[in-house]
Subunit: 284 residues, 2 copies
């Protein structure tokens, strides 16, 4: 089965009330008057990072991509659990883990380690747990016709770093989860998600989940470098994409990059026309 088919099968399982039909990047759990936000993402050698990557950068990215999912929910991180493969350079992995945990004041709850056969690609998992700062927790399905579409953060730097620009390497290796920004934005948005697979792909997902069409004004998208079209299909910058009602004044720097329309024939338009080619990083 392909990844979409697999996820469809998972959707038919007994789901937690806060699982949101597995349509979102994180789940919620109400307990004792609080709301927790739960998310789990794995990264694998040769898939999400290149063989030979400094293990400290692997650890940073592993935690950062999970914290980015909390950021999109306006959640305050409480802690993480880590599933780690034993690798050469394990001490560098722990050093990077320390850096990212200290940078965002997130403690470690626990986890486990596995020793894979020699030569097997390493796989790392992370579960991040946060406390919702605002109720309702933003979802990707809440965009409404008439909303403005906004982006907090820039696109393209990670792509440039991946492709060899020394000045942008850090952006690729060490993404910054926009936690403070997500907390500030959460009370004001109708929908929010992080851009992890490409702006066009993730915007199309927001549109589909919301039953709307999203029209992006390409020139308004904040991009590093000159290749705007490719930068809009690249995900590793972990910007926040949000839909907010007319009159929204962003409490943190953000760019208005488009608008939400009633559902049309296409979920996504760029400057009024359906984009062609791959919209972003497609799994499976």
């Amino acid at each position: 089965v392909t990844e979409p088919e697999f996820v469809d099968l998972l959707r038919a399982l007994p789901l937690a009330q806060g699982a949101g039909g597995l349509a979102d990047d994180a789940a919620t759990l109400h307990i004792g008057g609080e709301t927790l936000v739960l998310t789990h993402d794995s990264i694998a050698e040769g898939v999400h990072y290149r063989a030979g990557t400094d293990p400290a950068d692997i650890a940073w990215k592993l935690v950062a991509v999970n914290l980015s999912d909390l950021a999109a929910k306006g959640a305050v991180p409480i802690g993480v659990l880590i599933g780690a493969t034993l690798i050469d350079g394990g001490e560098r992995f722990v050093a990077g883990l320390r850096e990212v945990l200290e940078a965002y004041s997130v403690p470690l709850f626990g986890g486990d380690t596995i020793a894979l056969p020699k030569g097997a690609p390493a796989v790392f998992g992370c579960t991040a747990i946060g406390r919702a700062s605002h109720w309702p927790v933003p979802v990707r399905s809440g965009a409404r016709p008439g909303d403005g579409l906004w982006l907090c953060g820039e696109l393209g730097a990670a792509m440039l770093g991946y492709e060899g620009s020394a000045g942008h390497l850090h952006a690729y290796l060490r993404p910054r989860p926009l936690l403070a920004e997500g907390i500030a934005l959460a009370p004001h948005v109708h929908a929010m998600m992080d851009v992890s697979d490409g702006l066009l792909l993730d915007a199309a997902r927001m549109a589909a989940a919301s039953g709307c069409t999203i029209d992006i004004a390409a020139e308004a998208v904040p991009v590093s470098g000159s290749d705007r079209d490719r930068a809009m299909r690249w995900g590793d910058d972990y910007a926040l994409l949000l839909a907010a009602p007319d009159g929204f004044e962003p409490p943190v720097p953000a760019s208005r990059i488009g608008r939400v329309l009633p559902q049309g024939a296409e979920p996504l338009l760029v400057d009024g026309a359906a984009p062609t080619g791959p919209l972003g990083y497609q799994h499976g």
Copy 2:
């Protein structure tokens, strides 16, 4: 670095208050007047299960070993997050996931899927979240001299199944987390853990964590089959090991298999003498 060295490095990171110094199989999180229990365990092809295993059995085992960690804490499962590799037979994986989730009334919160390069060993992670049924939550470090040592469940069936006994194959492939038993026992014990790496190894760990010596009476250990010595070094039965004060009357079937002594030269004795050879499944 070896697994013990890696875990020692992790212990020096910023740890959550409920992480228990990473000395236990699960962490606790107090929130809104409740106590959550959090645990994460991964399993990998060729390490924790054999290549060619029915993916339904992989899914069962993945969830069951995590629920067993909740059982040892007397926790009531709230839900799980799953990190899954896309494999041939993904629909069988989901079928087994349904079976284990339904068997223990545990819903799915979410998770993620990764597509590994062809031929790479599959890796699956699970984070299980439970609600503590009793405070304090049992730890492995609470055994005290004078306590009786008890085992809830039997040993050896998984070993026989692994080694080809058709009548015991189910015990190996589909371990039963002793959730109800753990909840019943939690209010009465000084220490509790599940036997996942071998009774002798896990008892030695309980002794070391508790600053005691544990003396096991081999003849009292409930074992399937005739190879008592090897069964005591085999972990896949997921029995519960507990230390309870003198006069303890188990609320569920359990066998008194030894006693807790003041710390001596050896953490573990079997019939009064230090056992030789590997005590169980040593990681890393």
